[in-house]
Point group: C2
Chain length 264, copies 2
Amino acid sequence: MAPMNLPLTPTDAASPAVQAPAVTPAFSPLYQQIKGLILQSLQSSEWKPGESIPSEMELAARYRVSQGTVRKAIDELASDHLLIRKQGKGTFVATHAEHQVQYRFLKLVPDQGDLNTEGPAQRQIVDCKRLRASADMARVLALRTGDAVLQVRRVLSFAGVPTILEDLWLPGAPFKGLTAERLTAYHGPMYALFETEFGVQMVRAEEKIRAVLADKSQRELMQLPNNTPLLSVERVAYTYNNTPMELRRGFYRTDTHHYHNALN
Amino acid sequence: MAPMNLPLTPTDAASPAVQAPAVTPAFSPLYQQIKGLILQSLQSSEWKPGESIPSEMELAARYRVSQGTVRKAIDELASDHLLIRKQGKGTFVATHAEHQVQYRFLKLVPDQGDLNTEGPAQRQIVDCKRLRASADMARVLALRTGDAVLQVRRVLSFAGVPTILEDLWLPGAPFKGLTAERLTAYHGPMYALFETEFGVQMVRAEEKIRAVLADKSQRELMQLPNNTPLLSVERVAYTYNNTPMELRRGFYRTDTHHYHNALN
DNA sequence: CAGTGGTCTAGACCACACT
DNA sequence: GTGTGGTCTAGACCACTGC
């Protein structure tokens, strides 16, 4: 017995009221509904990052559908990088803590060699303080103007050369208790810390990239001469439900590294 | 009756002889083999861009497999953007000529509004000449040093403002007969011209992005002041078989536009 | 209406990992 | 061997397109 086809309104977040609803009966295939149910379990942390989820057969029994339908739901979640399939072992909740997928969102690579030859980055927290969200900041992070925001500034160096200067803004509430000390003490990607310490999983991001000239404070922190062009990378990272959870603005040196992008 | 499982050596292009073949029996699932056969038909232009391919049932009969197996092969080709499914109509060979997917590889967008509000770019061919491939150029385009190469320089303007300066290098042989006149006369994306006039389909590309300072000739062509930072976007575009067919280096103004990238 | 792709099912078997 | 995901099949039915 299959569950009813709940007429889910598809992705109507902040849809304009002017939009004609038309005759669309809002049909949603079964596997999409199952996908939604699995997504709910991920959001509610029923299954945590790194853990395995129940087998396809178990989920099929739980949702009263065939294994094939569960499979298709999991297929999509896997291609969204929310789940990771491992043949013979099971299906696992994706995590930023594994070596394989570490720095998934960092697309800066050295011109010669790769991340392995280069080794891990040296990290230095320059600043970490709380402040009130400006109107712009509030809009981007889906907060209200004046809400608490955490601001972090740090420098990443490769082989001793300062290469990345980053400013981060995080919503205060979910990241209550985050301090410069904890950031410094933690060894591993920042998104892994967010995951394990604050239960915040970043699943998607969007970047706006520009070429800019380094300003005075940037030149000082990265030891750069005048008129040095930098790559400005403005990123908004999202958790489940398209909730923005981080605004990050990176300034990358691109004389020895470049931003790599594959177009498909 | 299913075809034999041909032990296809998977992606062994220029594999070092040192590599141990190991015990791997090189298993390749049936749908991957079907995918390869469909790919061959695409390469050989049995089905041309914009045309429909045979229905799933027909292909299943042709390859002596079930419809489901053909479906999975087509699914992958569709997610690679080589085919486009249209419910009720059929499956079509992807093309750069359709309005939907035009400028698929151009990720520069205006800070306000979108490509529609902005309208089409004004194009101006600055230069178009034949020359001999340098060693570097030959390596990138998989040619031999000294082979004929076509070099094009052009400027794209939005709302009358020069925004993109591009240098292109194309292998001489496949693009025999391409001239500045033909480039100027053609209205539509350059990749659409490559497709219809030269039978060259670009299916994938890789970009290396840097921040640079505009040099003298760039400043003149784009009417820029001194010390203007530009986004340098170096792109290698590939046809089927991972054959490189174009090297393109674009310089983008990013004061009114930005390079947009989605991370998944 | 017929033809296309899209969904769903049920069952069989294969490849892989652990024990 | 047992359990997992991965492949393949065959058939039924649904949704969309165009005649």
